[in-house]
Amino acid sequence: MEPDGTLRIAGPDGPGVLRARAVLLALGTRETPRSARLVGGSRPWGVFTTGALQQLVHGAHQRPCRRAVIVGSELVALSNLLTFRHAGIAPVAIVEDRRRTLVAPPLAWAAGVAFGTPVLTDARPVAIHGTHRVEALEIDHRGRRRILPCDGVIFTGRFVPDAAPLAGSPITMDAGTGGPVVDQYGRTAIPTIFAAGNVLRPVEPSWTAWTEGRAVGRAIAEQLGGRLPAPSRRTTLSAAPPLRFVCPQQWSEPSPLRAALPMQVRSEEDVSGRLRFTAHGEELWGRRARLRTGRRIPVGVRLGDIASGTEVLVEVVRPN
């Protein structure tokens, strides 16, 4: 993307340029592969993300491995179990480096019962072994080295917005979400460029992304129709650790329409306490909340009424 919002594109007819009165960025998300997790060892065939495995199995009718370890315990880990069953791949174990699985425990338990898959928590992949093909995954399980013989390792989850085309553009990015900073209508730092769906943050199921796309699409129509004026004041929100992000990160005034993006907060770790929105040390909104790692907490705050043009801090205050 050029500084003025012009899009440079590549397609079957070669490179091209697009200029539009409005653009919706719906770039989506991808999983973090083994390399970016810095998991060591050799580089044999048999190391995939869920996305790659599903394409190999469903798109290309392949069975790229026969006995595989699943790394990660987000919901997507379980979808691997279904893919495994479909392709005739035996699950060796689910390995999660946190002390608890990220899906609700009953689901992890179901994985064990329905698929006979051991779920190892506090277990970190250390190295992949094998020359041509994967031969084993070495893990650190509660401080002990263990070798899990397998011919496949699936790195699941740890979704990141697929926002690479925005690098170097004037669109402000949020280190917490990995996506562009947007207001409640999905508008980025360039008000004619909108974003919706999982490019905004990790990660929502498809129907939520779809709903966001529709709602932001409506905001685009309103803006093109002259009913959604350019922002004159923006309230900026930032999340304090252990909160990972608040999204959308801005609230614009005037706000003649309902917000297209419901506000949500996510935490890096399990934490409970009072979730507060403050400006200049003063609480604008708050409630008691239990946040689980990576899970969305919807926030029913309408900032427009209370904090126009200020900087808002979002934090969890733990009880003493």
Partner: protein, 454 residues
């Protein structure tokens, strides 16, 4: 009966094959891997070195200088890139600074006349954004970045155009000199050749046993790297070198021809020849070191991690020798400069050949066999109006490039070979988006995609 058999399809073997074929010899390349570049040559820093810091008056220096010159001469006709980055060597403390004058003198003695000292201001101009604290440095304008995989591929393809044969999946298991010619035993049958060249890299001492008790021992030395996302590329304008010490050349930060940034390599002795493992602690240290040198690298994600093995021996010099009685030439211990020196080594070996095994025909006019360009700063296939389907969006690889790499005179022998020929699946998503498409295009042609689901 071939005139010459070259054992080993690393960059050195590929360059040798080309030189022999250009001189009209019937040469065969025998490679144990499923594709060329299955050994040391698949993972290096991809620098075309000037030789400014090579041992003075050494064969290594001579081969590097000759290799460097020939690469510049032939690269256009072979479609090979040259990213003219230059290098900046930075002294971060007084001890390092004190070593600069002797390095400068050595560079000049080595014939690299344009190396010159730098003050902190000039360093900052050549590489903006370096961490504060650089005391002094050297500018080595002739150090460049190349595509380490397309170059040897182009050498082999040109050799094939001149009649050479390439046999892959063809490990030489034994060799017997019978009636003045070699019979090499391979899984694909016996191969006969009048002369054998051992260019087996990490297996050099094992292959040498066919001819004699090896006078050298291969001691693999591992180098680990992290590859940073293309987003980091704009911040790195030049190759940033540390001041070497007696033990190692140290960790460099440098751009790649493919538009990434690499940080590495380490230098770690190991015994295994067939695998180079990375480890998390070292990779983390490399990421941290990169940010220490160039703070703006913080925040750029890691795209890939890899390690390579240098085919070092117990001594530092090249071990190149002709054994006239054995009808054998050893080309071993091409430790850390082989990508640069390969073409020069090939010339040197041709001289040995002439000296010990009789006259050699003059070189034919080379048939131009350009390889497809993968370098980011030059026109790529996706930029053409008839680009067609783009399969890999991270690296912008078109379907036509993948299909071309799977066919032709030397099709990719495995997925690694396809990656090296096209860059497919080597980008930031590592196949998240394109693995299925690649599998469909390559099914039945690459061993990785051989098994269909029930």
């Amino acid at each position: 009966m071939h005139d010459v058999a070259v054992i080993g399809g690393g960059v050195v073997g590929c360059a040798l094959l080309r030189r022999l074929a250009l001189h009209g010899m019937d040469a065969v390349l025998l490679e144990r891997g499923r594709d060329i570049l299955s050994g040391a040559s698949k993972a290096n820093s991809a620098l075309l070195h000037t030789g400014f810091d090579a041992p003075p008056d050494s064969l290594e220096l001579a081969c590097m200088r000759a290799g460097y010159r020939e690469y510049l001469d032939i690269r256009e006709s072979l479609g090979l890139p040259l990213v003219q980055t230059g290098a900046v060597m930075v002294a971060w403390n007084e001890a390092q600074q004190a070593r600069l004058p002797s390095l400068l003198a050595k560079a000049h003695a080595n014939g690299v006349a344009d190396v010159r000292p730098l003050d902190p201001g000039e360093i900052a101009r050549l590489q903006p954004g370096l961490a504060p604290g650089a005391l002094a440095g050297l500018h080595i304008p002739g150090e460049h970045v190349i595509d380490p995989w397309s170059a040897p591929l182009a050498y082999v393809r040109q050799a094939m155009a001149h009649g050479a044969t390439v046999m892959r999946d063809c490990e030489v298991l034994d060799g017997v000199l019978e009636g003045g010619a070699w019979r090499l035993v391979t899984p694909l049958g016996d191969v006969q050749a009048r002369i054998v060249i051992n260019a087996a890299g990490l297996y050099g001492d094992l292959v040498e046993q066919f001819a004699r008790t090896p006078p050298f021992e291969i001691r693999p030395r591992k180098g680990q790297f992290v590859v940073l996302d293309k987003s980091a590329h704009a911040t790195v304008r030049t190759i940033v070198l540390p001041v070497p010490d007696e033990r190692t050349k140290g960790i460099i930060v440098c751009p790649t021809a493919f538009g990434n940034v690499i940080v590495g390599p380490t230098a770690e002795e190991q015994t295994a020849r067939d695998h180079a493992a990375t480890d998390t602690a070292t990779l983390e240290a490399l990421v941290a070191r990169g940010r220490e040198i160039l703070p703006a690298l913080a925040g750029h994600a890691v795209t890939a991690i890899y390690a390579g093995l240098r085919p070092a021996t117990e001594r530092s010099e090249y071990r190149i020798e002709a054994l006239p009685d054995q009808r054998w030439i050893s080309v071993a211990g091409i430790r850390s400069t082989g990508l640069t020196a390969a073409l020069g080594i090939a010339r040197h070996v041709l001289d040995l050949f002439r000296r010990h095994f009789g006259p050699v025909a003059d070189a034919a006019v080379p048939i131009s066999t350009p390889v497809p360009n993968l370098c980011e700063s030059l026109p790529r296939r996706w930029m053409q109006p008839d680009a067609g389907e783009i399969v890999c969006h991270c690296e912008r690889v078109t379907r036509s490039e993948i299909e071309a790499a799977l066919s032709g005179p030397l099709p990719a022998g495995d997925l690694g070979g396809l990656r090296r020929r096209t860059r497919v699946m080597l980008g930031r998503c590592q196949g998240f988006h394109c693995a299925g498409r690649v599998a469909r295009l390559a099914a039945g042609r690459l061993p990785e995609f051989a098994e269909h689901r029930p």
